[in-house]
C-alpha cells in the first residue's frame, strides 16, 4: 500500500499533474494548424484559408493561425507537440456521441481519466487529487476516486468554526495510531496550504499574463494548485463554443485568442514546473475540409491535438499528413483520422504512472502509442 503521506508534497518533491483541456463543439484543426504546403487546402477554402504570409511558420509545411502565436514559444522550446489528423473512431459527426465516446474512451463504463486515476492510485489518492474547473465533472472523469468541481478555494474550508474545528480535529487525528492518523494529518496539512493560498494574493511567475476570461482564470487556478503542492494529479477544463457552421472567424477567432493567451500564460507561469506537468488539448472532431456558403465549416472528422509538457519531443507536428485529395477524404469530404487520440494519451498516461494498467484504461483497443517522448 502506498504511504499515506503521498497525498501532499514537500517542495523538493515534484508531483505529476495531468491537465486536460477539452474544446467542445468540434474545433477546426485546419484553421488552427494549417497545411500551408497542401494546395488542396486553398482550393477547399478559397475565402477562409490562412494565407502563408499571415501564418506563424512551424516546420515548413504547417503554420499556426496567427491568433495562436502565443503558442510559438513553447513550440520552439520543444515543450509543445502538435498532432494533426487526430481524433476518435466515432463517425456519427454528432457532438454528443463523439464527446461521449472520446471521454469514455470507447463504448465502455466510466471516463478514461476516471479509470486511469482508479487504476493508478490503487492505494490512495488525496482530497484534492482531481479537480474539474467549470460547472460539472466532465464525463472523462466519471468514476474518479475524488473528483471535485472547483469553484472557489472557500469550498475547502470548514465554515464559520474553521479554526477551532481544525484544532480539535488535529488533537484527535494525531492520537490515531493507524493509517487514519496519517491520512488525517495529511488532510489537515492540505487544508492549511489552501488556507495560505486563500489569504495570499497570487502573482504569476515570469511576468505571465493571463487573460481576463474564464478559461485563463481556470488555468491560473490550476497553476496555483500545482505550485502549492496540495496533491493535484489531474485537472480538467473546458473551452466551449467551437461549432463554426456560420462565420468561422466570428466564432473561432475569440476562442483561439483565449486558448492561446491561456496556454501561453500557463506555460510561462509554470516555468520549470512544466517538467512534471502535461497539458493536453483535444476536441471531439474537426470540421469539413471545404468551407460552406456561410463562411463556415460543417462537422467533420480529424482535427488537431496539442500536447505540452515535460519530456515531450515537441517542436514538431506528429502524425502522417494524409493529403486532401478526393480519394483520401472521408464521407462528405472530411480529413480522415490518422492518429487515434488514445495512441497519444497512452504514452502520456504511461509517464503519469499508469504502468501495466493501460488495458484497463482503454479496454478493447489495441494501443499503438505514438512516440511523443524521447
Amino acid at each position: 500500500m502506498p504511504a499515506i503521506e503521498h497525498f501532499i508534497h514537500g517542495d523538493g518533491d515534484r508531483r505529476q499533474t495531468l491537465v486536460v483541456v477539452f474544446l467542445r463543439g468540434g474545433a477546426d484543426g485546419l484553421n488552427m494548424v494549417a497545411p500551408l504546403e497542401d494546395d488542396g487546402y486553398y482550393r477547399a477554402r478559397p475565402r477562409i484559408a490562412i494565407t502563408k504570409s499571415k501564418a506563424v511558420p512551424l516546420d515548413g509545411f504547417y503554420g499556426l493561425n496567427p491568433l495562436l502565436a502565443d503558442l510559438q514559444t513553447a513550440y520552439k522550446d520543444g515543450a509543445l507537440g502538435i498532432v494533426h489528423a487526430a481524433g476518435s473512431e466515432d463517425d456519427t459527426r454528432s457532438h454528443f456521441e463523439a464527446q461521449d465516446l472520446m471521454e469514455h474512451g470507447g463504448i465502455v463504463g466510466g471516463g478514461w481519466l476516471g479509470r486511469f486515476l482508479r487504476a493508478r492510485t490503487a492505494g490512495t489518492s488525496g482530497p484534492l487529487s482531481t479537480v474539474a474547473l467549470g460547472r460539472e465533472v466532465p464525463e472523462c472523469l466519471r468514476g474518479a476516486p475524488a473528483a471535485t468541481v472547483f469553484s472557489s478555494l472557500d469550498d475547502f474550508t470548514l465554515g464559520a468554526n474553521h479554526a477551532r474545528l481544525m484544532t480539535s480535529l488535529a488533537r484527535l487525528y494525531q492520537a490515531q495510531p493507524n493509517d487514519l492518523g496519517a491520512a488525517g494529518n495529511s488532510t489537515l496539512e492540505a487544508v492549511r496550504r489552501i488556507e495560505a493560498l486563500r489569504t495570499a494574493s497570487y502573482q504569476p511567475a515570469h511576468d505571465a499574463m493571463y487573460g481576463d476570461d474564464e478559461f485563463s482564470r481556470g488555468l491560473l487556478q490550476i497553476a496555483r494548485l500545482i505550485k502549492s503542492r496540495v496533491g493535484l494529479e489531474a485537472a480538467s477544463i473546458d473551452l466551449t463554443g467551437w461549432d463554426s457552421h456560420f462565420g468561422q472567424a466570428t466564432v473561432m477567432d475569440p476562442l483561439m485568442t483565449q486558448l492561446a493567451r491561456g496556454l501561453g500564460a500557463f506555460y510561462r507561469d509554470m516555468g520549470r514546473e512544466m517538467d512534471s506537468t502535461t497539458l493536453v488539448v483535444m476536441t471531439e472532431f474537426g470540421r469539413r475540409v471545404a468551407e460552406n456558403s456561410a463562411f463556415g465549416t460543417d462537422h467533420g472528422r480529424g482535427s488537431v491535438l496539442f500536447v505540452m509538457g515535460g519530456g515531450i519531443k515537441g517542436g514538431r507536428v506528429f502524425g502522417k499528413w494524409p493529403g486532401l485529395t478526393q480519394d483520401v477524404l472521408e464521407g462528405p469530404g472530411d480529413l480522415p483520422v490518422v492518429t487515434n487520440y488514445r495512441n497519444i494519451l497512452a504514452p502520456i498516461l504511461g509517464r503519469h504512472g499508469a504502468g501495466a494498467n493501460l488495458d484497463k484504461v482503454f479496454p478493447s483497443f489495441e494501443i499503438q502509442p505514438v512516440e511523443i517522448y524521447a
Binding site: 466510466g110 482530497p127 466519471r142 468514476g143 474545528l165 484527535l172 491520512a183
Partner: protein, 506 residues
Amino acid sequence: MKLARRTFLKLGAGGVALVATAGCDQMPRELKQLLALVKRHDESFQPPATDTIDPIIHALNRAGFGPRPGDHQRVRKLAKTPEEAAATYLEQQLHPETIPDDDADYEARRFETLQAPPGEMFEYQPDLLQNELMRATLTRAVLSERQLFEVMAQFWSDHFNIDPSKGDCKWLKVVDDREVIRKNALGKFADLLRASAVSPAMLWYLDGRVNRHASPGDKPNENYARELLELHTLGVHGGYTQKDVMEVARCLTGWTVRSTVNPPYFQVGKVEFDPALHDFGSKMILSQTVASTDTTLSKDELKQRGRNELERVLEIVAAHPATALHISAKLCRHFIADNPPPAAVATVSDAFRKSDGDVRQTLRALFKTDEFLLTRGNKFKRPFTFAVSALRATGARTDCSTEIIDYLKRMGHAPFNYPTPEGYPDQAAPWMGTLLWRWNFAVALSQNQIKGTRVDLVTLGGSSGGDEHLMSHLLGRKPNPDESQAFRDSGDGLALMLASPGFQWC
C-alpha cells in the same frame, strides 16, 4: 405540526374519507404525520453506556448503516442480554419480508421512473433515471427498516457491478437493480447469477450481446466469460484457465439485446437468444463436457438447446467449490475485516455449499462466527456508509437530494458510478483520501447547510440527554477524555464528532 398548503390540498376530502374507512396501515403518510403517528426521533432515549462497542451497536453497524436515535435501546429490549438481543435483531433482519417498511416505501415511491417496465425506460432522459436511481438507493439506506437487505443490495451491486454510462446501460441499469439485484439480494446465489447473466444491462456492460458466432471463423467476445469466472464466481485464483474462459464464451454466444443503436427500434432492451449466432460445437468447461448439438434441428429446438447451455455453464460455475470460497471471502471482508480471517471464511464457505448457495443461511452462519461477534469497530466506513450513518445518527429529515449525491461524488462513492467491473473496493486504504469531504459534509449537516436536509440540534441534544450522551450515541460507546475535550473546544460538537476518527469506523 404545520402542514404546507400544498400538502393540505393533496390530502383533500378523499384522504379524510379514507381515514374513516381504512385502518392506519393504509393511511397516507401526510395523514399519519398530521396525526403524529410517524415515528419521530424526539423522544428521549438511552444511548450505549459501555467503553467499547457492544454487540448491539456492532449489529446495527455491520448489518445496516448505523443506529438512529433510540435504535440501541429498542434492540436492547429484544432479549435478556445484549448478546441475545443482537442475535435476535440479526435474525429479524434476515427476514426482511416480515419487517414493515412503510416510511422507506413511501419515500422511495417518489422516484416513479424506477417502476417503469423495461421497454418504457427508454422514454426517460438517462440523467433523470440515474439520478432517481441514486436518490432512491440513498433514501432506502437512510430510511429502511430492512437494513441488512439494503446492505446486501449494495454488496451485490458491487459484486455484479455495472456502470450505467456504457451504451444502453443508461436505461437498463435501473431494470437490473430492480429485477436482478434487489429481487435476489437474500435469495439463492445461483438465481442471482442467472438473472444477472441474461440481464440486458449486463449483456451490454460486459459485451455479451456482441459475443457471437455467425460463421466458422468468428472469435467469441470473452469479456463477460472472463469476468464471470474472475469476479462473479470462481475468483481470480479459482483454478480456471484461459481455455476455460474461451470455452465459456463459446457457450454463451448468441445472446442479444434489442438496442437503441440498431433498428428495428421495437421492444428495445428485450433479450433474445439467436441460434444463428451460437456456436453449437462441443466444449469443455472446468473438465466437464458440454456436448455438441446437431444444427439441423428445428429453430425452436435449437433455441432450447442454446438456453440449456447457458443454464449448464452457470450451474457448473455456481456449484464450483472455488465460488463458495470466493463469495464467502468477500462476505467476510465486508462484514468482518479487510483481511478476512481464514477460519471464518471456511465456516461461511461450508454453509454456502451445504445450503446450495442460500444467501440467508450463509449470512446466518457468518453472524454466528466468533470472528464476526468479536471483531468490532475495525471496518473503515466507505463514504456512502459514512454519509448515511451520519444522516441516521442525527435523525436528519432529508429528501436525499442531488446535493448529497454530489458530496458522494466528491468522495468517489456515488452509487453506481464505479467504472470497471470489479465494483467499489471494500477495504480501507482506497478511501483514506476522502477525509476532507467527510469533514465538509459533517459541517454542512450540523450547520443545516444542505438543502432539503435538516437536523434538529436542540431535539437531538435534548433527547440523548446532554453532551456526553450525545457523544456516546454518535460513537456507539462512551467518548474518551480526548474526544470530550475536543468536542467542547470545537465550537461545533456535532460536526466534530461526525468528522472525528471514531465516527469513521464501524
